[in-house]
């Protein structure tokens, strides 16, 4: 299956700071999604972004499919942004493979 690597594994931010999370994947993909897992375990879909750039409020994402990476940008971080961010990709086997996640802690 496709290997997914996320970096950094942990990120501690002061409220108001900006940050970039990275996702590298080992093969071409049909689908790439970024999720935020809240403290209760639910995976909230942030972006469906197999290629290109998207923005949603303070969050934006860019996927460069030809170079097999995606970036998630968090601007003006808030304490509610804390949690684990997962990158997941779907290849020709039609199953979503997840990275290990980036744990983000935003301090007031």
């Amino acid at each position: 299956g496709i290997q997914v690597e996320q970096s950094p594994p942990d990120l501690i931010l002061q409220e108001g700071a900006n940050s970039t999370l990275r996702c590298n994947f080992s093969d071409s993909v049909n689908n790439l999604q970024w999720f935020h897992q809240n403290p209760w375990g639910q995976l909230i879909n942030l972006f469906y972004i197999p290629s290109g750039t998207k923005q949603n409020g303070r969050l934006s994402a860019t996927t460069v499919a030809t170079e097999r990476y995606s970036l998630l940008y968090i601007s003006s971080s808030q304490t509610t942004d804390s949690g684990v961010y997962f990158c997941a990709v779907e290849g020709d086997d039609y199953k979503l493979s997840f990275g290990a996640g980036t744990t983000v802690t935003v301090r007031a």
Partner: protein, 112 residues
């Protein structure tokens, strides 16, 4: 529009028992996926159902099984429970292969 719903929210079982977890997809979604998130092991793909058929299976023993009903809802059954089956089980649905996934809130299974 209702999201993906899972039940029960929490489940406590004794080792050796059977557990049944349920998932209702978003209306119009025909594909249902099951994932296991055990402590320290990340999110592992379990099963994919589409149009009532099992389409793909992850690296799990046969005691993990399931089915998809004509209304596209799904059940995950875990037989002969072991302590290491304790995990958060997440269900997702999509309109079909290659489209985005939407996840439910999960069922937290504890085996004692």
């Amino acid at each position: 529009e209702a999201g993906v719903t899972q039940s029960p929210t929490h489940l406590i079982k004794t080792r050796g028992q059977q557990a049944t977890l349920r998932c209702s997809p978003i209306s119009g979604h025909t594909s249902v996926y099951w994932y296991q998130q055990a402590l320290g092991l990340g999110l592992q793909f379990l099963l994919w159902y589409d149009e009532g058929e099992e389409r793909n299976r992850g690296n799990f023993p046969p005691r993990f099984s399931g089915r998809q009903f004509p209304n596209y809802s799904s059940e995950l059954n875990v037989n002969a429970l072991e302590l290491e089956d304790s995990a958060l089980y997440l269900c997702a649905s999509s309109p079909g292969a290659g489209y985005g996934y939407t996840f439910g809130s999960g069922t937290r299974l504890t085996v004692v």
